[in-house]
Amino acid sequence: MKYIDEFQNPDLARRLLDDIHSTVTRPWALMEVCGGQTHTIIRHGIDQLLPEPVELIHGPGCPVCVTPLEVIDKAMEIASRPEVIFCSFGDMLRVPGTGRDLFQVRAEGGDVRVVYSPLDALRIARENPDREVVFFGIGFETTAPPNAMTVHQARRLRIRNFSLLVSHVRVPPAIEAIMRSPDCRVQAFLAAGHVCSVMGIGEYPALADRYRVPIVVTGFEPLDILEGVRRTVRQLERGEHTVQNAYSRAVRPEGNPSALAMLEDVFEVTDRAWRGIGVIPDSGWRLSPRYRDYDAEYRFSVTGIHTQEPAECRSGEVLQGLLKPNECEAFGTTCTPRSPLGATMVSSEGACAAYYLYRRLDTTTAPLEGSPVA
């Protein structure tokens, strides 16, 4: 695909790696914020190609994984009702709530459907006027504009049997929270490119300045990741901490003004719990009062559901690079990719899930440094 294949070119990757290898002189800990970037890193084995001093700490950037238990419980309660068609992005279905997940709700008779786009859910609402159609509106700033447009369309077209269960999260407050943690080891961020396609980069200079961290807006193909690493390492070696845009083909400094205006109209900023992390102030969006009629939490009276998350998982420390996943007592015993405890094990590219896979590899053979061809 154009604009993807070129950015996977192995020869150019080699040039970028050469440059990184020749630049780095000491250990640096970088965090890639977005789960999509983590996916690329693991899928292409990029972490193994970087110089040893460069450590990539996988960030909290999977909105599916950080959706709090309480919201999943609300989703399952709504999806269980006979009049409801509950529509969701596919990866949300396997995230466990209390005692079960949305797959199980479907197995118990709930009408749970996977859609590609929130507009598909709106279409389903029009086709089923006698049913209540609820869309699970999760995601970062990238997914918020599509969800906002959908609820805006529902109101404009007077589609009354449609509502949104909203649990949107915002990236900059999460970066701030990580940096404020006293033991934080993160020295630079690869910011999430597609979040910035929408939001622009205006929120980052203050963060870079306050915490003296380089922040490089980074894309999602292998060359993009390597360029993000190259630019952060360069800054770190020089003692600089500026915001740079390494994904200029898809990110303008001002973001997307139409999308920003729609977000302003449909959502309002709220405190939001991140699964495992706890509440981060101002880190979420909910529907603004103007759209209350389309808020599934009110329509289905689930605002009273409050779920306490039992303490066993230590993914907060993993996330900060303070704890290796296998140093957690639950790792590989009560917590596996099959039955995950926390965000970092839920997602296949979460730090714990990735570690789980590679630990199995390490315990069955010589470490990866050795040749797999015995």
């Binding site: 209390t98 996977v114 303490a311 917590c335």
Partner: protein, 357 residues
């Protein structure tokens, strides 16, 4: 953005998590996905209940001896939605699926049975079209549908048409295809482009629809397997990588053989449209279903000749070597990425779902 000086640092050391979901009290879709959940259902429920040495082989088809003959025996059920898709229908799948399961034992399918479960209200004309497709597929594969059964369930209790087929065929002398025969050094060959069937089906599935000029690769592989066995009966194992895709097939073989498998990702033939559809939906082509492809583990000394024979057959024209069995990391599949890194190709847990992140 709020004034960041106002933010309190959250307690990151107190990450908390829910109780684990260790057991599914009810069947979920993933139990039919061909991944870890399916395997557990067989391992923990069916195999202990049925017992028996033949079942313990757990291959695509069972090899049994009867009256001095060695037979391959297999069954498969078909619940695909929609019933008709680009390049085929549930009828084509029902015939070719079982024919291919037999072919993976080295057998040419001789007879099939066919059980229909029809939903009240299903259009008879549609049943007719499916039956015609089955007949045509059976003739093309050189197999006879010898017996059948029809049941009807109440409206709302089925999805139009479900089909079960079972089949038997003779295993030629000297042929013994089992994952346990795989040894380090075996060469891994696929017969052509992967992911084609799965993408063709997804392109017409409700909620995901997309336009793509791609047709299911659904085909009967008996002829291709015969051509391969004509080179040498000493192939080690064959699999048709259906549900769970190439990743599931390779993992099953690695687990059952106790060897490791290494594949060179750049050698795996993925057509651009499959790669692009997967890019949009966030899927990995290695996990996408195939219906007219096979993966073979071949002794190194026969690899070139087997490959030549495959390429001379229309269903193997794009056959290529993708990797090898190794002593390292027994039971695991590892891919060398295009950039020179390494990743683990794990057994899928359940259904493959489009993802957004």
């Amino acid at each position: 953005m709020p004034d960041i000086t106002e933010l309190r640092a959250p307690d990151l050391t107190a990450w908390t998590c829910p109780a684990p979901l260790r057991d599914h009290p009810r069947v979920v879709m993933g139990h039919g996905g061909g991944g870890a959940l399916s395997a557990e259902l067989v391992q923990h429920i069916f195999a202990p209940a049925f017992g028996g040495e033949v079942l313990a082989q757990l291959g695509d088809s069972a090899a049994v001896s009867l009256g001095g003959a060695r037979l391959a025996f297999s069954t498969d059920s078909f619940v695909v939605r929609p019933l008709f898709f680009p390049g085929g229908s549930i009828g084509d799948l029902a015939v070719n699926g079982t024919v291919n399961d037999l072919a993976m034992s080295g057998a040419r399918a001789a007879y099939l049975s066919c059980g229909f479960i029809l939903e009240e209200g299903a259009e008879v004309a549609v049943v007719g079209r499916v039956a015609e497709a089955m007949g045509a597929a059976a003739r093309a594969a050189g197999v006879e549908v010898a017996t059948g059964d029809t049941k009807v369930v109440e409206a709302g209790h089925g999805d139009g048409i479900y089909i079960n087929t079972s089949g038997i065929g003779l295993i030629p002398a000297g042929v013994d295809l089992r994952p346990q025969r795989v040894v380090p050094g075996d060469v891994v060959i696929v017969s052509g482009d992967i992911g084609v069937h799965g993408v063709a089906i997804m392109s017409v599935r409700e909620g995901l629809e997309f336009g793509v000029e791609i047709e299911s690769d659904c085909a009967a592989l008996g002829g291709l397997v015969e051509a391969m066995l004509a080179v040498t009966p000493d192939l080690h194992v064959l699999r048709d990588p259906t549900r769970g895709g190439l990743a599931a097939a390779l993992n099953e073989i690695a687990a059952a053989s106790g060897t490791g498998v290494v594949i060179q990702e750049r050698s795996v033939p993925v057509p651009p449209t499959v790669a692009n559809a997967c890019a949009i939906l966030g899927l990995d082509p290695l996990y996408v279903a195939n219906e007219g492809k096979l993966v073979a583990f071949v002794p190194r000394e026969h690899a070139d000749a087997v490959l030549d024979a495959m390429r001379a057959h229309p269903l193997g024209a794009a056959a290529t070597v993708i990797g090898e069995a190794v002593e390292a990391h027994p039971g695991m599949v590892v891919a060398r990425t295009g950039l020179g890194g390494t990743r683990v190709v794990d057994l899928p847990i359940g259904e493959q779902l489009p993802r957004i992140c």
